[in-house]
Protein backbone atom coordinates (compact mmCIF):
# COMPACT_ATOMS: atom_id res chain seq x y z
CA UNK A 1 0.00 0.00 0.00
CA UNK A 2 2.65 2.55 1.00
CA UNK A 3 4.75 1.92 -2.12
CA UNK A 4 1.73 2.61 -4.39
CA UNK A 5 1.02 5.85 -2.46
CA UNK A 6 4.65 6.86 -2.92
CA UNK A 7 4.43 6.04 -6.60
CA UNK A 8 1.43 8.33 -7.01
CA UNK A 9 3.18 11.12 -5.14
CA UNK A 10 6.35 10.65 -7.14
CA UNK A 11 4.39 10.63 -10.37
CA UNK A 12 2.67 13.88 -9.46
CA UNK A 13 5.93 15.49 -8.38
CA UNK A 14 7.57 14.57 -11.67
CA UNK A 15 4.58 15.93 -13.59
CA UNK A 16 4.74 19.18 -11.66
CA UNK A 17 8.48 19.36 -12.23
CA UNK A 18 7.92 19.06 -15.98
CA UNK A 19 5.38 21.86 -15.80
CA UNK A 20 7.71 24.08 -13.78
CA UNK A 21 10.58 23.49 -16.23
CA UNK A 22 8.50 24.54 -19.24
CA UNK A 23 7.03 27.46 -17.33
CA UNK A 24 10.47 28.57 -16.19
CA UNK A 25 11.66 28.52 -19.79
CA UNK A 26 8.84 30.80 -20.80
CA UNK A 27 9.29 32.93 -17.69
CA UNK A 28 12.94 33.35 -18.64
CA UNK A 29 11.79 34.79 -21.97
CA UNK A 30 9.31 37.11 -20.27
CA UNK A 31 12.01 38.54 -18.02
CA UNK A 32 13.99 39.44 -21.15
CA UNK A 33 11.15 41.42 -22.66
CA UNK A 34 10.81 45.18 -22.27
CA UNK A 35 7.57 46.69 -21.06
CA UNK A 36 5.34 47.43 -24.01
CA UNK A 37 3.78 50.79 -24.79
CA UNK A 38 0.53 49.82 -26.48
CA UNK A 39 -2.35 49.30 -24.03
CA UNK A 40 0.20 49.09 -21.23
CA UNK A 41 2.07 52.32 -20.56
CA UNK A 42 -1.00 54.49 -20.02
CA UNK A 43 -2.65 52.08 -17.52
CA UNK A 44 0.67 51.80 -15.71
CA UNK A 45 1.02 55.58 -15.42
CA UNK A 46 -2.59 55.83 -14.26
CA UNK A 47 -1.88 53.20 -11.62
CA UNK A 48 1.24 54.97 -10.39
CA UNK A 49 -0.63 58.21 -9.82
CA UNK A 50 -3.64 56.44 -8.31
CA UNK A 51 -3.84 56.55 -4.54
CA UNK A 52 -4.62 52.90 -3.74
CA UNK A 53 -5.90 49.65 -5.24
CA UNK A 54 -9.27 50.34 -3.61
CA UNK A 55 -9.49 53.82 -5.20
CA UNK A 56 -8.63 52.28 -8.57
CA UNK A 57 -11.29 49.64 -8.02
CA UNK A 58 -13.95 52.22 -7.17
CA UNK A 59 -12.87 54.54 -9.96
CA UNK A 60 -13.44 51.87 -12.63
CA UNK A 61 -16.84 50.59 -11.53
CA UNK A 62 -18.73 52.78 -13.97
CA UNK A 63 -16.56 52.47 -17.09
CA UNK A 64 -18.63 52.55 -20.25
CA UNK A 65 -18.87 49.25 -22.10
CA UNK A 66 -16.64 47.34 -19.71
CA UNK A 67 -16.76 46.24 -16.10
CA UNK A 68 -13.17 45.53 -14.99
CA UNK A 69 -12.51 47.24 -11.68
CA UNK A 70 -10.44 44.36 -10.30
CA UNK A 71 -8.08 44.55 -13.27
CA UNK A 72 -7.09 48.09 -12.40
CA UNK A 73 -6.87 47.30 -8.70
CA UNK A 74 -4.41 44.50 -9.49
CA UNK A 75 -2.38 46.76 -11.77
CA UNK A 76 -2.19 49.28 -8.93
CA UNK A 77 -1.27 46.61 -6.39
CA UNK A 78 1.65 45.40 -8.51
CA UNK A 79 2.72 49.00 -9.05
CA UNK A 80 2.73 49.64 -5.31
CA UNK A 81 4.66 46.44 -4.59
CA UNK A 82 7.25 47.22 -7.28
CA UNK A 83 8.94 49.95 -5.22
CA UNK A 84 9.72 51.77 -8.46
CA UNK A 85 11.04 48.74 -10.36
CA UNK A 86 8.01 48.62 -12.63
CA UNK A 87 9.38 46.61 -15.53
CA UNK A 88 10.78 43.93 -13.25
CA UNK A 89 7.65 43.78 -11.11
CA UNK A 90 5.17 43.43 -13.96
CA UNK A 91 7.34 40.92 -15.80
CA UNK A 92 7.89 38.91 -12.62
CA UNK A 93 4.17 38.94 -11.91
CA UNK A 94 3.57 37.73 -15.44
CA UNK A 95 6.17 34.97 -15.13
CA UNK A 96 4.74 33.77 -11.81
CA UNK A 97 1.27 33.64 -13.32
CA UNK A 98 2.62 31.47 -16.14
CA UNK A 99 4.12 29.10 -13.59
CA UNK A 100 0.78 28.94 -11.76
CA UNK A 101 -0.96 28.38 -15.10
CA UNK A 102 1.06 25.30 -16.01
CA UNK A 103 1.12 23.93 -12.47
CA UNK A 104 -2.66 24.18 -12.12
CA UNK A 105 -3.09 22.49 -15.49
CA UNK A 106 -0.88 19.53 -14.56
CA UNK A 107 -2.53 19.29 -11.17
CA UNK A 108 -5.91 19.00 -12.86
CA UNK A 109 -4.63 15.99 -14.83
CA UNK A 110 -4.49 14.04 -11.54
CA UNK A 111 -1.43 12.04 -12.51
CA UNK A 112 -1.44 8.84 -10.52
CA UNK A 113 0.51 6.17 -12.38
CA UNK A 114 3.19 5.65 -14.99
CA UNK A 115 0.80 5.91 -17.92
CA UNK A 116 -0.80 9.19 -16.88
CA UNK A 117 2.68 10.51 -16.09
CA UNK A 118 3.92 9.43 -19.51
CA UNK A 119 1.18 11.46 -21.23
CA UNK A 120 2.14 14.67 -19.37
CA UNK A 121 4.75 15.77 -21.98
CA UNK A 122 2.12 15.50 -24.71
CA UNK A 123 -0.45 17.29 -22.54
CA UNK A 124 1.97 20.14 -21.79
CA UNK A 125 2.94 20.60 -25.43
CA UNK A 126 -0.74 20.80 -26.41
CA UNK A 127 -1.39 23.21 -23.55
CA UNK A 128 1.53 25.48 -24.46
CA UNK A 129 1.49 24.90 -28.20
CA UNK A 130 -2.07 25.94 -28.94
CA UNK A 131 -2.12 29.42 -30.47
CA UNK A 132 -4.50 30.77 -27.82
CA UNK A 133 -1.70 30.26 -25.27
CA UNK A 134 0.30 32.92 -27.10
CA UNK A 135 -2.33 35.47 -26.13
CA UNK A 136 -1.49 34.85 -22.48
CA UNK A 137 2.24 35.48 -22.83
CA UNK A 138 3.14 37.73 -25.74
CA UNK A 139 1.74 40.94 -24.31
CA UNK A 140 1.04 42.59 -20.96
CA UNK A 141 -1.32 45.48 -20.38
CA UNK A 142 0.68 45.87 -18.02
CA UNK A 143 -0.78 42.69 -16.57
CA UNK A 144 -2.20 40.06 -18.88
CA UNK A 145 -5.85 39.79 -17.91
CA UNK A 146 -6.49 36.93 -20.32
CA UNK A 147 -3.89 34.90 -18.44
CA UNK A 148 -5.35 35.93 -15.10
CA UNK A 149 -8.78 34.62 -16.12
CA UNK A 150 -7.39 31.39 -17.51
CA UNK A 151 -5.46 30.82 -14.27
CA UNK A 152 -8.56 31.50 -12.20
CA UNK A 153 -10.60 29.15 -14.39
CA UNK A 154 -8.04 26.37 -13.86
CA UNK A 155 -7.99 27.17 -10.16
CA UNK A 156 -11.76 26.72 -10.11
CA UNK A 157 -11.36 23.38 -11.89
CA UNK A 158 -8.80 22.23 -9.35
CA UNK A 159 -11.13 23.22 -6.53
CA UNK A 160 -13.99 21.41 -8.26
CA UNK A 161 -11.85 18.27 -8.40
CA UNK A 162 -11.23 18.38 -4.66
CA UNK A 163 -13.36 16.74 -1.97
CA UNK A 164 -15.51 19.85 -1.64
CA UNK A 165 -16.93 21.37 1.48
CA UNK A 166 -17.71 24.82 2.79
CA UNK A 167 -14.14 26.11 2.48
CA UNK A 168 -13.94 24.96 -1.15
CA UNK A 169 -17.25 26.65 -1.85
CA UNK A 170 -15.99 29.91 -0.35
CA UNK A 171 -12.79 29.68 -2.38
CA UNK A 172 -14.83 29.10 -5.53
CA UNK A 173 -17.00 32.11 -4.76
CA UNK A 174 -13.94 34.30 -4.21
CA UNK A 175 -12.34 32.97 -7.40
CA UNK A 176 -15.47 33.79 -9.35
CA UNK A 177 -15.76 37.29 -7.87
CA UNK A 178 -12.13 38.15 -8.63
CA UNK A 179 -12.43 36.78 -12.17
CA UNK A 180 -15.78 38.39 -13.00
CA UNK A 181 -14.57 41.79 -11.81
CA UNK A 182 -11.28 41.48 -13.74
CA UNK A 183 -12.59 40.78 -17.22
CA UNK A 184 -15.86 39.80 -18.85
CA UNK A 185 -14.34 36.40 -19.67
CA UNK A 186 -14.10 35.93 -15.90
CA UNK A 187 -17.71 34.78 -16.02
CA UNK A 188 -16.23 31.60 -17.47
CA UNK A 189 -15.25 30.66 -13.92
CA UNK A 190 -18.97 30.41 -13.25
CA UNK A 191 -19.30 28.24 -16.34
CA UNK A 192 -16.50 25.99 -15.04
CA UNK A 193 -18.32 25.60 -11.72
CA UNK A 194 -21.65 24.78 -13.33
CA UNK A 195 -20.04 22.50 -15.90
CA UNK A 196 -18.10 20.72 -13.17
CA UNK A 197 -21.33 20.13 -11.27
CA UNK A 198 -23.11 18.80 -14.35
CA UNK A 199 -20.11 16.56 -15.03
CA UNK A 200 -20.20 15.20 -11.50
CA UNK A 201 -16.99 16.64 -10.08
CA UNK A 202 -16.84 15.92 -6.36
CA UNK A 203 -15.87 19.42 -5.24
CA UNK A 204 -19.00 21.14 -6.52
CA UNK A 205 -22.36 20.73 -4.82
CA UNK A 206 -25.81 22.10 -5.50
CA UNK A 207 -25.02 24.73 -2.86
CA UNK A 208 -21.98 25.82 -4.85
CA UNK A 209 -23.99 26.18 -8.03
CA UNK A 210 -26.71 28.15 -6.29
CA UNK A 211 -24.08 30.41 -4.78
CA UNK A 212 -22.37 31.02 -8.11
CA UNK A 213 -25.72 31.62 -9.79
CA UNK A 214 -26.53 34.20 -7.15
CA UNK A 215 -23.17 35.87 -7.73
CA UNK A 216 -23.82 35.95 -11.48
CA UNK A 217 -27.14 37.60 -10.78
CA UNK A 218 -25.48 40.12 -8.46
CA UNK A 219 -22.90 40.81 -11.17
CA UNK A 220 -25.66 41.52 -13.69
CA UNK A 221 -27.47 43.84 -11.28
CA UNK A 222 -24.26 45.70 -10.44
CA UNK A 223 -23.04 46.02 -14.00
CA UNK A 224 -26.23 46.73 -15.93
CA UNK A 225 -28.45 48.06 -13.18
CA UNK A 226 -26.47 50.08 -10.68
CA UNK A 227 -23.46 51.14 -12.75
CA UNK A 228 -25.05 50.86 -16.20
CA UNK A 229 -21.82 50.04 -18.04
CA UNK A 230 -23.57 48.42 -21.00
CA UNK A 231 -21.74 46.12 -23.41
CA UNK A 232 -19.00 46.75 -25.94
CA UNK A 233 -20.20 47.40 -29.49
CA UNK A 234 -18.77 46.74 -32.94
CA UNK A 235 -17.62 50.35 -32.99
CA UNK A 236 -14.93 49.51 -30.43
CA UNK A 237 -12.62 47.14 -32.32
CA UNK A 238 -11.82 45.57 -35.62
CA UNK A 239 -12.46 41.88 -36.13
CA UNK A 240 -11.49 39.29 -38.69
CA UNK A 241 -14.03 38.17 -41.27
CA UNK A 242 -13.23 35.53 -43.88
CA UNK A 243 -9.91 36.59 -45.38
CA UNK A 244 -9.31 40.02 -43.87
CA UNK A 245 -9.70 42.08 -40.72
CA UNK A 246 -12.55 44.59 -40.82
CA UNK A 247 -12.35 47.96 -39.12
CA UNK A 248 -15.49 49.27 -37.35
CA UNK A 249 -16.50 51.44 -40.34
CA UNK A 250 -15.99 48.47 -42.66
CA UNK A 251 -18.15 46.31 -40.40
CA UNK A 252 -20.98 48.83 -40.59
CA UNK A 253 -20.56 49.17 -44.33
CA UNK A 254 -20.79 45.40 -44.86
CA UNK A 255 -23.45 44.46 -42.31
CA UNK A 256 -25.32 47.69 -41.64
CA UNK A 257 -27.67 47.25 -38.71
CA UNK A 258 -28.03 43.49 -39.24
CA UNK A 259 -25.08 42.30 -37.20
CA UNK A 260 -26.46 38.82 -36.49
CA UNK A 261 -24.48 37.15 -39.32
CA UNK A 262 -21.29 38.71 -37.96
CA UNK A 263 -22.08 37.62 -34.42
CA UNK A 264 -22.78 34.05 -35.57
CA UNK A 265 -19.58 34.06 -37.62
CA UNK A 266 -17.55 35.25 -34.63
CA UNK A 267 -18.95 32.52 -32.40
CA UNK A 268 -18.44 29.77 -34.98
CA UNK A 269 -14.96 30.92 -35.90
CA UNK A 270 -13.95 31.10 -32.23
CA UNK A 271 -14.98 27.47 -31.76
CA UNK A 272 -13.26 26.43 -34.96
CA UNK A 273 -10.11 28.28 -33.98
CA UNK A 274 -9.65 26.26 -30.80
CA UNK A 275 -10.49 22.92 -32.44
CA UNK A 276 -8.70 23.34 -35.76
CA UNK A 277 -6.35 26.33 -35.35
CA UNK A 278 -8.27 28.10 -38.11
CA UNK A 279 -9.42 30.80 -38.50
CA UNK A 280 -7.05 33.05 -36.54
CA UNK A 281 -8.81 35.98 -34.91
CA UNK A 282 -11.55 35.45 -37.46
CA UNK A 283 -9.26 35.39 -40.51
CA UNK A 284 -8.72 32.18 -42.52
CA UNK A 285 -4.98 32.64 -42.80
CA UNK A 286 -4.47 29.23 -44.38
CA UNK A 287 -6.79 30.08 -47.28
CA UNK A 288 -5.28 33.52 -47.53
CA UNK A 289 -1.82 31.98 -47.68
CA UNK A 290 -2.87 29.63 -50.48
CA UNK A 291 -4.35 32.51 -52.48
CA UNK A 292 -1.29 34.65 -51.89
CA UNK A 293 1.11 31.82 -52.70
CA UNK A 294 2.56 32.18 -49.21
CA UNK A 295 2.02 28.72 -47.79
CA UNK A 296 4.61 27.81 -45.22
CA UNK A 297 5.23 24.65 -43.19
CA UNK A 298 3.76 26.37 -40.12
CA UNK A 299 0.29 26.33 -41.70
CA UNK A 300 0.43 22.56 -42.04
CA UNK A 301 2.00 22.10 -38.62
CA UNK A 302 -0.72 24.06 -36.88
CA UNK A 303 -3.66 22.55 -38.70
CA UNK A 304 -2.14 19.07 -38.66
CA UNK A 305 -1.55 19.23 -34.93
CA UNK A 306 -5.11 20.34 -34.27
CA UNK A 307 -6.54 17.69 -36.57
CA UNK A 308 -4.63 15.03 -34.64
CA UNK A 309 -5.72 16.27 -31.22
CA UNK A 310 -9.31 17.05 -32.15
CA UNK A 311 -9.47 13.79 -34.06
CA UNK A 312 -8.34 12.02 -30.90
CA UNK A 313 -11.15 13.73 -28.99
CA UNK A 314 -13.68 12.74 -31.63
CA UNK A 315 -12.46 9.13 -31.55
CA UNK A 316 -12.77 9.16 -27.79
CA UNK A 317 -16.36 10.41 -27.95
CA UNK A 318 -17.26 7.70 -30.48
CA UNK A 319 -15.55 5.03 -28.37
CA UNK A 320 -17.33 6.06 -25.21
CA UNK A 321 -20.72 6.18 -26.93
CA UNK A 322 -20.03 2.71 -28.32
CA UNK A 323 -19.19 1.60 -24.76
CA UNK A 324 -22.71 2.67 -23.80
CA UNK A 325 -21.53 5.64 -21.75
CA UNK A 326 -24.26 8.25 -21.56
CA UNK A 327 -22.99 10.42 -18.73
CA UNK A 328 -19.51 11.30 -17.52
CA UNK A 329 -17.98 8.49 -15.56
CA UNK A 330 -14.24 9.04 -15.68
CA UNK A 331 -12.06 12.08 -15.22
CA UNK A 332 -11.50 12.22 -18.98
CA UNK A 333 -15.28 12.19 -19.57
CA UNK A 334 -15.69 15.03 -17.11
CA UNK A 335 -12.87 17.05 -18.60
CA UNK A 336 -14.38 16.62 -22.05
CA UNK A 337 -17.79 17.81 -20.91
CA UNK A 338 -16.34 20.79 -19.04
CA UNK A 339 -14.19 21.70 -22.04
CA UNK A 340 -17.19 21.57 -24.39
CA UNK A 341 -19.24 23.85 -22.16
CA UNK A 342 -16.36 26.27 -21.57
CA UNK A 343 -15.65 26.36 -25.31
CA UNK A 344 -19.27 27.16 -26.11
CA UNK A 345 -19.49 29.85 -23.45
CA UNK A 346 -16.11 31.38 -24.33
CA UNK A 347 -17.10 31.54 -28.00
CA UNK A 348 -20.46 33.09 -27.14
CA UNK A 349 -18.64 35.81 -25.21
CA UNK A 350 -16.67 36.74 -28.31
CA UNK A 351 -19.76 37.45 -30.36
CA UNK A 352 -18.90 41.14 -30.88
CA UNK A 353 -15.32 40.61 -32.02
CA UNK A 354 -13.10 37.58 -32.09
CA UNK A 355 -9.45 37.41 -31.06
CA UNK A 356 -7.27 34.46 -30.26
CA UNK A 357 -6.55 35.95 -26.84
CA UNK A 358 -10.22 35.93 -25.87
CA UNK A 359 -10.33 32.15 -26.40
CA UNK A 360 -7.31 31.50 -24.18
CA UNK A 361 -9.43 29.95 -21.40
CA UNK A 362 -11.10 27.49 -23.75
CA UNK A 363 -7.70 26.79 -25.29
CA UNK A 364 -6.31 25.99 -21.84
CA UNK A 365 -9.10 23.49 -21.20
CA UNK A 366 -8.61 21.83 -24.60
CA UNK A 367 -5.50 19.91 -23.54
CA UNK A 368 -7.25 18.26 -20.59
CA UNK A 369 -9.54 15.88 -22.52
CA UNK A 370 -6.82 15.38 -25.15
CA UNK A 371 -4.60 13.96 -22.41
CA UNK A 372 -7.47 11.90 -21.05
CA UNK A 373 -8.30 10.51 -24.47
CA UNK A 374 -4.66 9.59 -25.05
CA UNK A 375 -4.54 7.72 -21.73
CA UNK A 376 -7.79 5.92 -22.57
CA UNK A 377 -6.55 4.56 -25.90
CA UNK A 378 -3.10 3.74 -24.56
CA UNK A 379 -4.67 1.64 -21.82
CA UNK A 380 -6.70 -0.26 -24.43
CA UNK A 381 -3.81 -0.74 -26.82
CA UNK A 382 -1.94 -3.63 -25.16
CA UNK A 383 -5.12 -5.75 -25.10
CA UNK A 384 -5.78 -5.27 -28.81
CA UNK A 385 -4.71 -7.78 -31.41
CA UNK A 386 -1.80 -6.06 -33.06
CA UNK A 387 -0.14 -6.67 -36.36
CA UNK A 388 3.17 -4.96 -36.88
CA UNK A 389 1.66 -3.00 -39.75
CA UNK A 390 -1.11 -1.63 -37.53
CA UNK A 391 1.41 -0.87 -34.81
CA UNK A 392 3.65 0.95 -37.27
CA UNK A 393 0.75 2.98 -38.60
CA UNK A 394 -0.37 3.94 -35.09
CA UNK A 395 3.19 4.81 -34.11
CA UNK A 396 3.64 7.04 -37.14
CA UNK A 397 0.40 8.83 -36.35
CA UNK A 398 1.32 9.24 -32.68
CA UNK A 399 4.81 10.43 -33.49
CA UNK A 400 3.59 12.88 -36.12
CA UNK A 401 0.91 14.31 -33.87
CA UNK A 402 3.13 14.66 -30.81
CA UNK A 403 5.99 16.08 -32.87
CA UNK A 404 3.95 18.88 -34.40
CA UNK A 405 2.64 19.81 -30.97
CA UNK A 406 6.18 19.90 -29.60
CA UNK A 407 7.16 22.15 -32.51
CA UNK A 408 4.27 24.47 -31.75
CA UNK A 409 5.23 24.59 -28.07
CA UNK A 410 8.88 25.29 -28.89
CA UNK A 411 7.73 28.10 -31.15
CA UNK A 412 6.52 30.10 -28.15
CA UNK A 413 10.12 31.18 -27.53
CA UNK A 414 10.41 32.41 -31.12
CA UNK A 415 7.22 34.46 -30.82
CA UNK A 416 8.36 36.02 -27.54
CA UNK A 417 11.75 36.95 -28.99
CA UNK A 418 10.06 38.51 -32.00
CA UNK A 419 7.70 40.42 -29.74
CA UNK A 420 10.57 41.69 -27.61
CA UNK A 421 12.23 43.14 -30.71
CA UNK A 422 9.01 44.85 -31.82
CA UNK A 423 8.18 46.15 -28.34
CA UNK A 424 11.63 47.67 -27.86
CA UNK A 425 11.40 49.37 -31.24
CA UNK A 426 8.02 50.83 -30.31
CA UNK A 427 9.71 52.88 -27.57
CA UNK A 428 11.70 54.77 -30.22
CA UNK A 429 8.43 56.09 -31.65
CA UNK A 430 7.01 57.17 -28.31
CA UNK A 431 7.52 60.90 -28.76
CA UNK A 432 6.02 60.99 -32.22
CA UNK A 433 3.02 58.84 -31.38
CA UNK A 434 2.25 60.40 -28.04
CA UNK A 435 2.41 63.88 -29.55
CA UNK A 436 0.01 62.72 -32.25
CA UNK A 437 -2.40 61.07 -29.80
CA UNK A 438 -2.32 63.86 -27.20
CA UNK A 439 -0.91 61.58 -24.49
CA UNK A 440 1.85 63.99 -23.58
CA UNK A 441 -0.73 66.53 -22.42
CA UNK A 442 -2.29 63.93 -20.20
CA UNK A 443 0.95 62.55 -18.74
CA UNK A 444 3.31 65.53 -18.84
CA UNK A 445 3.67 65.51 -15.05
CA UNK A 446 4.94 61.92 -15.25
CA UNK A 447 7.45 62.56 -18.01
CA UNK A 448 10.45 61.69 -15.78
CA UNK A 449 8.95 58.27 -15.14
CA UNK A 450 8.12 57.80 -18.82
CA UNK A 451 11.68 58.67 -19.79
CA UNK A 452 13.07 56.30 -17.18
CA UNK A 453 10.88 53.49 -18.51
CA UNK A 454 11.93 54.38 -22.04
CA UNK A 455 15.62 54.22 -21.15
CA UNK A 456 15.10 50.91 -19.39
CA UNK A 457 13.24 49.46 -22.36
CA UNK A 458 15.83 50.67 -24.88
CA UNK A 459 18.61 49.25 -22.73
CA UNK A 460 16.96 45.79 -22.71
CA UNK A 461 19.01 43.47 -24.93
CA UNK A 462 16.84 41.73 -27.51
CA UNK A 463 17.60 39.37 -30.36
CA UNK A 464 17.52 40.89 -33.84
CA UNK A 465 15.46 38.65 -36.17
CA UNK A 466 18.31 38.81 -38.68
CA UNK A 467 20.25 36.38 -36.50
CA UNK A 468 17.51 33.83 -36.23
CA UNK A 469 17.60 30.95 -38.66
CA UNK A 470 15.30 31.69 -41.59
CA UNK A 471 13.46 28.42 -41.19
CA UNK A 472 12.04 29.56 -37.86
CA UNK A 473 9.78 32.12 -39.50
CA UNK A 474 8.42 29.38 -41.76
CA UNK A 475 7.98 26.73 -39.11
CA UNK A 476 6.95 28.53 -35.95
CA UNK A 477 3.84 30.57 -35.39
CA UNK A 478 3.79 34.28 -36.05
CA UNK A 479 1.74 37.05 -34.56
CA UNK A 480 -1.30 37.63 -36.71
Amino acid sequence: MSSSVLTTSSARLLALAAAVVLAAGIGHDLLHMPLQIGDSLAPLLDAVRGSSPWSEFRGHLAQSGYFRPMRFAIIKAVSDLSNGHYMLAYRLFHALLVVAFLVLFVRALEVRDRLTLAVVPLALTVFVGIHTFLGTVKEIYPTNHFLQIAVLALLALNLAQSRGGLLIDLLLFVTFIVAALTLESGLLVGVVVVAAWIAGMPGVSRRTVIGVAALIGAYAVLRFGIYGTGLPTVEERSTGFLLEPLSPPQIRERFGDNLLPLYLYNIASSISSVLFSEPRSGVWVFVRAIRGDQLAPRHFIQIGASLCATGLLAAYVVARIRDGVRRPLTLADRHLMIFALVLAANAAMSYVYTKDEIMSTAGAFYALPVAGAAVYFLRLWPARVRTWQATAAVCVLCLAGSTVWAIRAAGVHHVLRSQAFVQRNDWTRLDREWSRDGNWERYRAQEPLVRALQREAIATPVVNPRFEPRWMERVFDIYY
Binding site: A24, L124, T125, W388, C395, D431, I458
Partner: protein, 159 residues
Protein backbone atom coordinates in the same frame (compact mmCIF):
# COMPACT_ATOMS: atom_id res chain seq x y z
CA UNK B 1 13.16 -11.61 -31.36
CA UNK B 2 10.87 -13.68 -29.19
CA UNK B 3 7.12 -13.23 -29.42
CA UNK B 4 7.11 -11.96 -25.84
CA UNK B 5 9.63 -9.27 -26.62
CA UNK B 6 7.86 -8.37 -29.82
CA UNK B 7 4.57 -8.18 -27.98
CA UNK B 8 6.08 -5.90 -25.34
CA UNK B 9 7.54 -3.64 -28.02
CA UNK B 10 4.32 -3.34 -29.99
CA UNK B 11 2.44 -2.72 -26.74
CA UNK B 12 4.73 0.17 -25.76
CA UNK B 13 5.64 1.61 -29.12
CA UNK B 14 2.68 4.03 -29.46
CA UNK B 15 3.31 5.31 -25.94
CA UNK B 16 6.93 6.01 -26.77
CA UNK B 17 5.89 7.75 -29.99
CA UNK B 18 3.50 9.98 -28.07
CA UNK B 19 5.90 10.77 -25.25
CA UNK B 20 9.26 11.34 -26.92
CA UNK B 21 8.83 14.72 -28.66
CA UNK B 22 7.33 16.43 -25.62
CA UNK B 23 9.84 14.83 -23.30
CA UNK B 24 12.64 16.01 -25.58
CA UNK B 25 11.32 19.56 -25.42
CA UNK B 26 11.12 19.47 -21.63
CA UNK B 27 14.62 18.05 -21.42
CA UNK B 28 15.98 20.68 -23.82
CA UNK B 29 14.34 23.40 -21.75
CA UNK B 30 15.88 22.00 -18.58
CA UNK B 31 19.32 21.95 -20.22
CA UNK B 32 18.84 25.52 -21.41
CA UNK B 33 17.89 26.63 -17.90
CA UNK B 34 20.87 24.80 -16.44
CA UNK B 35 23.11 26.59 -18.92
CA UNK B 36 22.05 29.91 -17.42
CA UNK B 37 23.96 29.01 -14.27
CA UNK B 38 27.13 29.01 -16.38
CA UNK B 39 26.31 32.21 -18.25
CA UNK B 40 25.12 30.43 -21.39
CA UNK B 41 21.81 31.70 -22.77
CA UNK B 42 21.23 30.21 -26.22
CA UNK B 43 17.73 31.66 -26.64
CA UNK B 44 18.73 35.26 -25.86
CA UNK B 45 22.22 35.47 -27.32
CA UNK B 46 22.50 39.05 -28.54
CA UNK B 47 24.91 39.75 -31.40
CA UNK B 48 26.74 43.09 -31.03
CA UNK B 49 26.03 45.50 -33.88
CA UNK B 50 27.63 48.66 -35.15
CA UNK B 51 25.35 51.68 -35.47
CA UNK B 52 25.32 51.35 -39.25
CA UNK B 53 24.43 47.67 -38.94
CA UNK B 54 21.61 48.42 -36.53
CA UNK B 55 20.24 50.94 -39.03
CA UNK B 56 20.61 48.45 -41.89
CA UNK B 57 18.82 45.75 -39.89
CA UNK B 58 15.92 48.02 -38.93
CA UNK B 59 16.82 47.78 -35.26
CA UNK B 60 15.39 51.09 -34.05
CA UNK B 61 15.95 50.21 -30.42
CA UNK B 62 19.60 49.33 -30.93
CA UNK B 63 20.15 52.50 -32.94
CA UNK B 64 18.90 54.61 -30.04
CA UNK B 65 20.78 52.56 -27.46
CA UNK B 66 24.08 52.93 -29.28
CA UNK B 67 23.64 56.67 -29.80
CA UNK B 68 22.74 57.16 -26.16
CA UNK B 69 25.81 55.12 -25.24
CA UNK B 70 27.97 57.61 -27.13
CA UNK B 71 28.13 56.42 -30.73
CA UNK B 72 28.36 59.17 -33.35
CA UNK B 73 25.24 59.02 -35.57
CA UNK B 74 27.15 60.68 -38.41
CA UNK B 75 30.26 58.51 -38.41
CA UNK B 76 30.61 55.78 -41.03
CA UNK B 77 30.72 52.25 -39.75
CA UNK B 78 31.08 48.72 -40.98
CA UNK B 79 28.12 46.76 -42.23
CA UNK B 80 29.00 43.11 -42.52
CA UNK B 81 28.57 41.16 -45.72
CA UNK B 82 25.07 39.82 -46.42
CA UNK B 83 23.41 42.45 -44.21
CA UNK B 84 22.71 44.89 -47.04
CA UNK B 85 24.82 43.67 -49.93
CA UNK B 86 26.92 40.59 -50.61
CA UNK B 87 30.08 42.50 -49.64
CA UNK B 88 30.90 44.32 -46.44
CA UNK B 89 30.38 48.08 -46.58
CA UNK B 90 31.60 51.16 -44.73
CA UNK B 91 28.71 53.61 -44.70
CA UNK B 92 26.99 56.08 -42.43
CA UNK B 93 23.88 55.06 -40.49
CA UNK B 94 21.72 57.33 -42.68
CA UNK B 95 23.10 55.66 -45.79
CA UNK B 96 22.33 52.28 -44.24
CA UNK B 97 18.76 53.41 -43.52
CA UNK B 98 18.33 54.60 -47.10
CA UNK B 99 19.88 51.37 -48.33
CA UNK B 100 17.21 49.37 -46.53
CA UNK B 101 14.58 52.02 -47.40
CA UNK B 102 13.38 52.39 -43.85
CA UNK B 103 11.99 55.85 -43.11
CA UNK B 104 11.37 55.01 -39.45
CA UNK B 105 15.09 54.39 -38.96
CA UNK B 106 15.88 57.62 -40.79
CA UNK B 107 13.51 59.53 -38.51
CA UNK B 108 15.04 57.97 -35.41
CA UNK B 109 18.54 58.91 -36.58
CA UNK B 110 17.51 62.47 -37.37
CA UNK B 111 15.81 62.78 -33.98
CA UNK B 112 19.00 61.62 -32.29
CA UNK B 113 21.54 63.88 -33.87
CA UNK B 114 22.14 62.66 -37.41
CA UNK B 115 23.02 65.71 -39.55
CA UNK B 116 21.17 66.52 -42.73
CA UNK B 117 23.12 69.44 -44.13
CA UNK B 118 22.79 70.27 -47.86
CA UNK B 119 25.75 68.14 -48.89
CA UNK B 120 24.57 65.12 -46.91
CA UNK B 121 21.03 65.59 -48.15
CA UNK B 122 22.19 65.72 -51.75
CA UNK B 123 24.31 62.62 -51.35
CA UNK B 124 21.46 60.67 -49.72
CA UNK B 125 18.94 61.85 -52.27
CA UNK B 126 21.14 60.72 -55.14
CA UNK B 127 21.63 57.38 -53.40
CA UNK B 128 17.89 56.92 -52.81
CA UNK B 129 17.19 57.78 -56.44
CA UNK B 130 19.84 55.40 -57.71
CA UNK B 131 18.49 52.42 -55.78
CA UNK B 132 14.80 53.42 -56.15
CA UNK B 133 14.28 53.78 -52.39
CA UNK B 134 11.02 55.63 -52.92
CA UNK B 135 9.97 55.98 -49.31
CA UNK B 136 13.36 57.34 -48.33
CA UNK B 137 13.19 59.80 -51.21
CA UNK B 138 9.79 61.04 -50.06
CA UNK B 139 11.07 61.63 -46.53
CA UNK B 140 14.19 63.37 -47.79
CA UNK B 141 12.04 65.66 -49.93
CA UNK B 142 10.08 66.66 -46.84
CA UNK B 143 13.32 67.30 -44.94
CA UNK B 144 15.13 69.17 -47.70
CA UNK B 145 17.42 71.80 -46.18
CA UNK B 146 16.87 75.29 -47.48
CA UNK B 147 18.82 75.91 -50.62
CA UNK B 148 20.00 72.32 -50.94
CA UNK B 149 20.64 71.56 -54.61
CA UNK B 150 20.07 68.18 -56.17
CA UNK B 151 23.03 67.33 -58.36
CA UNK B 152 24.12 63.74 -58.67
CA UNK B 153 26.74 63.93 -61.40
CA UNK B 154 29.76 63.74 -59.16
CA UNK B 155 28.18 62.04 -56.19
CA UNK B 156 29.58 58.69 -55.15
CA UNK B 157 26.94 56.44 -53.62
CA UNK B 158 27.57 53.28 -51.56
CA UNK B 159 26.33 51.19 -54.46
Amino acid sequence: MTSTTEGALTARAPLAALVLPGAALILATAVMLAGLLFGVDPLWRVEPLTLAEAAALRDNGEVVRLIEAGEDPNAPGTVRAEFLRNDALTITPLEAAVGSDRVDIMEVLLEHGARLDPATWNQLMCFATAIEADESRALLEQRRPEGAPLACDHVQTPW
